[in-house]
């Protein structure tokens, strides 16, 4: 187990959460990773609306859809909903 995890003497009892849920990175659950194609994308924002994790945002300064891979679980809903097939789910290689 990774050294950043705490031991049983250090953590509160009864599963009490001692950190907010934003500290719980669920990105490592992912098998397939969404990859965005700027050319195909029409900025309709459906992926942003449908993402159950709130992990997709539009950056007006760069005019790009940004994916937060710390929290994206790779469910593929964004790719499924995209009307222009601008999101591709690719198998993620892990160390």
């Amino acid at each position: 187990m990774s050294p950043e995890y705490k031991g049983w003497k250090e953590i509160p009892i009864a599963g009490v959460c001692w950190l907010p849920s934003t500290e719980y990175k669920t990105g490592d659950w992912r098998t397939y990773k969404p990859v965005w194609d700027s050319e195909k994308c029409i900025r309709c924002m459906l992926c942003h609306i449908y993402c159950p994790e709130g992990a997709i945002k539009y950056n007006p300064e760069t005019d790009a859809m940004e994916f937060d891979y710390d929290f994206c679980k790779g469910c593929g809903i964004c790719a499924n909903e995209c009307p222009k097939e601008a999101i591709e789910m690719i198998l993620e290689e892990k160390e």
Binding site: Y5, W8, I11, P12, I13, A14, G15, V16, C17, W18
Partner: protein, 409 residues
Amino acid sequence: MAKIAQKVIALSGDEAVAYAVKQCDVDVVAAYPITPQTIIVERFSEYVANGEVDTAFICVESEHSALTCCLTAAATGARAFTATASAGLALMHEVLGVTSGCRAPVVMAIVNRALSAPINIHCDHSDSMAERDMGWIHIYAENSQEAYDSIIQAFRIAEHPDVLLPTLVGLDGFVLSHTLENVNVLPDDAVKGFVGERKFPLVRNHEGKMIPFKLDPENPLTIGPLDLYDYYFEHKRQQEEAMKKAYEVIRQVHEEYAELSGRRYGNGLVEPYRLEDAEIAVVCIGSTAGTVKTVVDELRGKGVKAGLLRIRVFRPLPVQDIIQWLSDKKAVGVMDRACSFGGNGGPLFHEIRHALYDLPNRPPVTNYIYGLGGRDTSPHLIHKVYQDLQRIAETGRVEQLVSFIGLRE
């Protein structure tokens, strides 16, 4: 000697439990009636209807819901009690683990009754023995007086900040639950003072604040959420640590209660009876110990060095006391009122033998399974156990490791 005057009233075991709960300033009682526990709930609902207690009494649709109500009430900081037996306890099984995992100090009376099938309403210990590994403290009473005393102690033990484990008090169905006995009861204010208010250790919440360990909208806290391979194991280890700390807490609470009431049950964990110089010893749980004591007296009258070790607390298992009291015996017979089918003996037998295994000269330990489904356990039957132990002590040979006694072939 007791410090204060006590009333003697005739109570059945169930009534004694209800009376104790009435005095313990309980906030929530949620229960579902089942024989032979029903009288506990009936009496307590009368106390509520008469305005004798300030307790929310929740009538639920099942035992699963009864314990869920108590668990959640206890998580908010309330003092909660329930009672059940047999199939009711089996239906609660899932929530027993949730309660201990959430470290909710619920107190529950188990009126020990056989499990179906065939359906049977009488006493054995198969119901609570099946809950052995659910993270609850197990205390077993020998008589109604002890059931009363143990309920009062149970709240103090369960709610102790070093422990925070749910606690069950077992009493034998019908043998105790439905039999009138003279019970000494403490004055209401003495019990209230003894049990006191719940205390809450501080825990760090998700906002980084140290707050009391209870659900409170002013100080938000999450208890018992999802826990995967990253932290589940650590939380289970904490429960084991709480059990270790419970030994001392149980002894201290028992001692403090003994000073108040004048009643003492061994050291609170085990109760030895004429065991110091005994050569042969029986180990048992619950009301049968009363019969065994009578037989021990008879045998002592005949010069047989017989003794008894009654296990009052089964979880945490008082390993050190078992070693201390049994290591020098010539033969030990463990009486189990439950059978672990296919397990080569009953649960108490396994644990007593396990406790003695590391001794360089451990005594032979045999098992006597008795009284299933309320089968009468007479002094005659216990005499036969001691005869068997005498033979083992003399020859050093165990002919039969596990025997079923009081059974027709």
